[in-house]
Symmetry: C2
Subunit: 341 residues, 2 copies
């Protein structure tokens, strides 16, 4: 295949960290991104070049371009952590095949992206592109965090931002394992769909005295893990309402609150603890055999509809600067970028 | 030995938990304690009766009588967690011997106390009573928490309330293991003594910009464990100034602050975590062979003066209601109660 010299890409326009904490909302792309024609990256030793078919847009992408993620930005580099596409370069037997991947050296919001050969995930032919494009960040995080739930030995777990894509994946995992989620959401309108998906209970934070409801539910369900993508004061209050041995596992920061630890003594006397989850670290620390096994599970779940990808919209790369904020602002569903359009 | 029917004891006058968080200061004993003549407890199956020679007064005792500890108060029961005395009752070969012990059924601030036979710790003849009376709560906590420091793999650790009895034990352990403490204290007057004891550095919280000093020190020393008996906002700030992988281990609550988590994302991206340490839980979870080994270490350290007990005062039991608050208010040193006086 003859590759072009140049490609279209959404590149970052800032370097490093911002030192802010504004959450994953994106009112305007212009302070962080620009649509540019840049050279197609050239794979070095151990790298593969992928012609991107569809790229995912996750909250972590937005944290990243805003300089609020665990890795520094590099001005001029394409953004976008994950996607699906065809391997078109690099010394790999997967050349010509459709793969999911986590972009390393050059991001997925571009016509071509680059990653390490070891990170290419072959896709089953019956896996849809929207499922393939997003099979890494959210589904792998869901599987990894659900291990914490299983290991906690409890019959249920607590989950906030439960209406998110990741939340829905976790609710379905809980349903299938018989360890149902107590789902925390902001809007009452989300409750019915999450109960239908298999949540044991739904707590609506906007309702009257949601903490009293939580306390009553925790007495019945005795959940030991709180999976938290919000990090606000209500999350801290939930944690302190949970039973002995509870773990608050923070993996995202939708809120800009700095929550107060009003009952620190529970860490001493009730053996509670507060920790974080980061997929990048998990992948480094987990038994390597676990990763391909996880991707087999993920693809099987999507193909059999045990998991589904709710679509907010597919934004053409050429229109992403203007359209991405509006699609991301939709309350449910996941956004993608189509580099060919 | 013929035992009396009645004994003098400082008994609790309240039941259960207070629901407050006022810290371990004691302005007045009367709301919590009363000096009474009560029946000498009668040991049941597996229990030993001890004639108390000297009883320790620890911060955890004050938390307990104020209803702010992990166990509920029982009105009418003698207070006091630890002490030294002679075994005078119970089916044990230690009858007649001097032992240190953690009071179970009936507390140590009394002429007689009771505990499980399994919890009796024989004392070396060359161990002084002031060291024997306090060899459990503080020294065992110090050894147990210093394991966390060793396991962290760092060359130093951070310690607040470093001028406390427990703080000094930890500083000496760090000195002897070549993993020196960065000691955090409130008063500049404490600094010199702690440096002499073996602390690597002293941060005085009352000084100008102690956080800037901490940041500079952490860059050099890369400490991974913060042993915290204070639980205030400055402690949280210290934690967030520490390097990747840092653990905030809270074991006491001298402050009534509810510290804010201003950089929760560090739990995700820097693998930090916040947890508690409670000796009671540690003793249940640790390899049982570790406990007698630890007491051999503790007694050896006191006898060889690797550890010393700084005395604030020995209060006669008969005068404790009036004198205890003043002795506890002394800035350094440990208080004891003499049940025979």
């Amino acid at each position: 295949m003859t590759l072009p010299q140049m490609m279209r890409a959404l590149v970052q326009v800032q370097d490093g960290y911002a030192g802010t904490q504004t959450g994953p909302a994106l009112a305007d792309a212009a302070p962080f991104l620009a649509l540019r024609d840049i050279p197609v990256p050239s794979p070095g030793q151990g790298q593969a070049l992928i012609k991107v078919k569809l790229a995912a847009v996750n909250p972590s992408d937005i944290h990243f371009i805003k300089g609020e993620y665990g890795q520094p930005r590099v001005s001029g580099q394409p953004a976008g952590f994950e996607g699906v596409g065809e391997v078109v370069g690099g010394d790999t037997p997967l050349l010509g095949q459709r793969v999911s991947f986590f972009a390393g050296a050059s991001g997925t919001w571009a016509e071509y992206a680059m990653t390490d050969i070891s990170g290419l995930i072959p896709c089953r032919p019956d896996l849809a592109d929207v499922d393939a494009a997003g099979q890494l960040v959210n589904p792998l995080t869901a599987l990894a965090m659900f291990d914490l739930v299983r290991d906690s030995g409890a019959d249920s777990f607590v989950l906030n931002a439960a209406g998110s894509q990741l939340g829905k994946l976790l609710i379905a995992l809980g349903r299938d394992a018989g360890i149902p989620a107590i789902a925390v959401v902001r809007r009452a309108a989300q409750a019915e769909a999450l109960l239908a998906l298999g949540a044991a209970e739904v707590i609506v934070t906007g309702a009257a005295d949601p903490l009293a409801q939580a306390r009553a539910l925790f007495k019945t369900y005795q959940p030991r893990i709180l999976l938290d993508a919000v990090g606000d004061q209500f999350t801290a209050d939930l944690f302190f309402a949970m039973p002995n041995g509870a773990r608050w596992v923070n993996y995202g920061k939708l809120s800009t609150d700095a929550p107060k630890l009003a009952a620190l003594g529970q860490l001493i006397f009730q053996g509670k603890r507060i920790e974080g989850f980061w997929l990048t670290r998990w992948m480094k620390e987990v038994d390597p055999a676990r990763i391909p096994q996880a991707f087999a599970t993920i693809q099987e779940r999507f193909v059999t509809r045990a998991w589904t990808t709710d679509l907010a919209g597919i934004v053409p790369l050429s229109q992403a600067m203007a359209q991405l904020p509006a699609v991301l602002a939709m309350p449910d569903g996941k956004a993608f970028i189509d580099p060919a359009a």
